[in-house]
């Protein structure tokens, strides 16, 4: 009886956290702030399904996320809010999955710690409301990793099907998710070779099926790989960049937060190694360590490939595998006493509070989007031209000004007919030569300081004399 009350109590806490997390993420969605990659998402969603597949084929990512986003758009409308909610959904699904499957495979302490660690992950709120594929990839990779363990314990047809499907879904969502899934496949094979050799045949069969199911995209993948080998937009990876990955993963904005998480990582790994040495819960501990190694190996391989080819790895590409690290954390720390776990839970909740506050600032108050939109809402006419001098934001401007002609300053012919040109002058970008004013008999009037996302510019109104 007492056990049942305690069990329900933990379940209640878990659901409470899921609801709070969901509610707070939704509260971060009521804005119109997007960056370049999100602008790409919104732009590609103008296409139909086939157009999306072709569009992603000439880009650098696989298409599944965009197809999910398109389906959401067809069902619920074209607003940015719908897209933000669609990226929150997989995180909530993952948490719910933890209350069912992770709880079943381990225990409620593990599922609770996993949920709390996921909530406290500094990048989670930012990526949960970013209209990109990362949260979906995280869902697929994590289910794949957990199902691998489930399969190892009990080999059932339904589990093999789930494992293959989520692995494929991850591979069709992001290439570094594919890499993480490949590592999971590798670890599963290793586990079968060591402990259950009769399952190896099934593994090979399932791997062949996976490769066949992925084959339609393999040609595209190779082509994209050759393309990025020649040129990609990621800066060179240096030792400093690698160190910055830890900050990306664990810095909540609080001093020493990265070091605190690193300490937790070491503690968790040490407890797992102790279990292995003492041969208590050895299988579980080996599994936890393997899962913890997946984001590390994904990053290492990404850095090595970048060194051999061109820089193609960015810290956010390890995001899909990060939940597996937290699963390893949770398994490692589960045998601490309840008081320590409760205090750790309080730390994780305050860590979440800190990053939520930060993301809220970034989403609502860090840019001048609201005042810029209000200005253009009041002053922009249908025939007005918008000229800009910052090519890097071309994509983003297209999202904000879908009904007006947008022209890069270098391509603008001021001899053409126009009533009004709104010129967005970003500092340190292409220079507007004031001789143009004399040559084309123009008036240039400073209107004010505005900005879109992190691009702040001076806005000028240009008219003919």
């Amino acid at each position: 009886m007492q056990y049942k009350i305690k069990k329900n109590y933990i379940q209640l806490i878990q659901w409470g956290f899921i609801l709070i997390f969901g509610g707070l993420c939704v509260s971060l969605s009521f804005n119109n702030n997007i960056w370049t990659d999100e602008a790409f998402t919104m732009q590609i969603l103008h296409q139909d399904y086939w157009g999306i597949i072709l569009g992603t084929a000439i880009d650098v990512h696989p298409p599944l996320y965009y197809l999910i986003a398109k389906t959401a758009q067809l069902l619920f409308g074209t607003s940015l809010l719908v897209q933000k909610l669609i990226t929150i959904l997989p995180v909530l699904l993952l948490m719910i999955y933890a209350t069912r499957v992770i709880k079943r495979l381990f225990d409620e302490k593990v599922s609770l710690l996993f949920i709390l660690m996921l909530m406290a992950f500094p990048a989670i709120t930012e990526y949960a409301v970013q209209v990109r594929m990362y949260t979906w990839a995280m869902l697929f990779v994590t289910i794949c990793g957990v199902t691998a363990y489930d399969l190892f314990l009990e080999s059932k047809k339904s589990k093999w099907i789930i494992f293959t499907l989520v692995g494929l879904a991850a591979a069709y969502t992001h290439y570094f998710a594919l890499l993480s899934v490949a590592l999971i496949y590798g670890y599963l094979l290793l586990a079968f070779l060591i402990w259950k050799r009769k399952e190896v045949k099934k593994w090979f069969l399932m791997s062949i099926i996976t490769i066949i199911a992925y084959s339609p995209w393999i040609a595209v993948w190779v082509w994209q790989l050759l393309k990025v080998a020649e040129e990609y937009v990621i800066p060179d990876i240096t030792a400093k960049t690698v160190i910055s990955y830890f900050d990306w993963a664990f810095n909540t904005g609080t001093p020493f937060s990265t070091q605190i998480y690193e300490l937790l990582f070491i503690l968790s790994a040490a407890l797992l190694i102790r279990n292995i040495v003492k041969k208590s819960e050895k299988g579980e501990s080996v599994y936890a360590l393997w899962m913890m190694s997946i984001p590390i190996l994904t990053t290492t391989i990404g850095v090595i490939i970048s060194e051999l080819m061109n820089p193609i790895f960015n810290s956010r590409y390890v995001f899909p595998a990060m939940a597996l690290l937290f699963l390893g954390f949770a398994i490692g720390l589960r045998h601490l006493n309840m008081i320590s776990i409760t205090i750790l839970g309080c730390f994780l909740v305050s860590s979440f509070g800190s990053q939520y506050q930060e993301t809220r600032y970034v989403e609502y108050r860090s840019t001048r989007v609201v005042e810029t939109e209000a200005f253009f809402e009041e002053n922009l006419q249908e025939d007005d031209l918008i000229v800009y001098n910052f090519t890097g934001y071309g994509f983003i401007y297209e999202y904000y000004f879908p009904d007006n002609e947008l022209i890069y300053l270098g391509d603008m012919d001021f001899a053409r007919e126009f009533e009004t040109v709104w010129y967005m002058d970003t500092y340190n970008q292409l220079y507007f030569d004031d001789k143009l004013l004399e040559n084309y008999q123009l008036n240039k009037e400073f209107v004010g300081n505005y900005g879109i996302e992190h691009d702040e510019f001076k806005l000028y109104k240009i008219t003919k004399r």
Binding site: P255, S340, F347, S351, G448, K458
Partner: protein
């Protein structure tokens, strides 16, 4: 007895560490205030007795650095020679920080960071002055803008060459170390408690193990 002493020691150290975080505030958090992008103007040349002065009210009690933007175009022909004297004073005109920089080192038309690393009084008026000496050319200028556009709460009165310009404000970036927010404090306090609980938990386990061993010994 010995174990109890260790327990008490752990508790005292933990409570001491927790108090040092809050309310003593030993650990501080970095933050910054930066001018918004605006239509910038250049002051007239600053050289010798012509000083650029900005009054400001810091938001926190410790200021790491103050960055401002200088335009050195006028010094180009003479090879940017000269020295930039940066002085930060409190409301009683007491010098808190002073630095002399070779003009060549100062970034042209972008933020140049004058490292101050000094305690200031949050909410009280302070001033910093920029003066250029040993300069053969006309002298560099400092960038400023309309206060409404710059939107830098700290900035108060701007003076140049002895005249005040109340509607204008220096293009600046203030880098602080300030008190921790509530979530930061909670993170520190809970992680300290967590570490303490691990030690106490370990001692208790060892204790139980020894008791069990003793009991088994007696039984034998």
């Amino acid at each position: 007895m010995k174990k109890n002493l260790i327990r008490i020691g752990i508790l005292i150290v933990t409570i001491g560490c927790m108090l040092s975080i809050w309310p003593l505030g030993v650990i501080m958090k970095e933050s910054e205030s930066k001018s918004k992008a605006a239509l910038y103007y250049n002051s007239g040349p600053i050289k010798d007795a012509v000083v650029f002065k900005q009054t400001f009210i810091p938001k926190h009690n410790y200021i790491e650095s103050i960055s401002i933007q200088m335009n050195r175009d006028n010094t180009f022909e003479k090879g940017h020679e000269g020295e930039v004297l940066f002085v930060l004073k409190d409301e009683n005109e007491i010098t808190l920080s002073k630095s002399v920089t070779d003009l060549n080192q100062v970034t042209n038309k972008d933020y140049y960071e004058f490292v101050t690393k000094t305690f200031v009084k949050k909410g009280k008026k302070h001033t910093y002055t920029i003066q250029v000496t040993e300069c053969e050319s006309e002298g560099p200028s400092v960038r400023f803008g309309d206060s409404m556009d710059i939107e830098l709460e700290e900035n108060q009165l701007l003076s140049y060459g002895g005249a005040d310009f109340p509607e204008y404000s220096t293009v600046a970036l203030y880098r602080y170390r300030g008190e921790l927010g509530i979530w930061d404090v909670l993170q520190f306090e809970t992680i300290l408690l967590f570490i303490a609980s691990l030690f106490l938990f370990q001692i208790n386990r060892e204790n139980k193990f020894e008791q069990k061993k003793d009991k088994n010994g007696l039984n034998e």
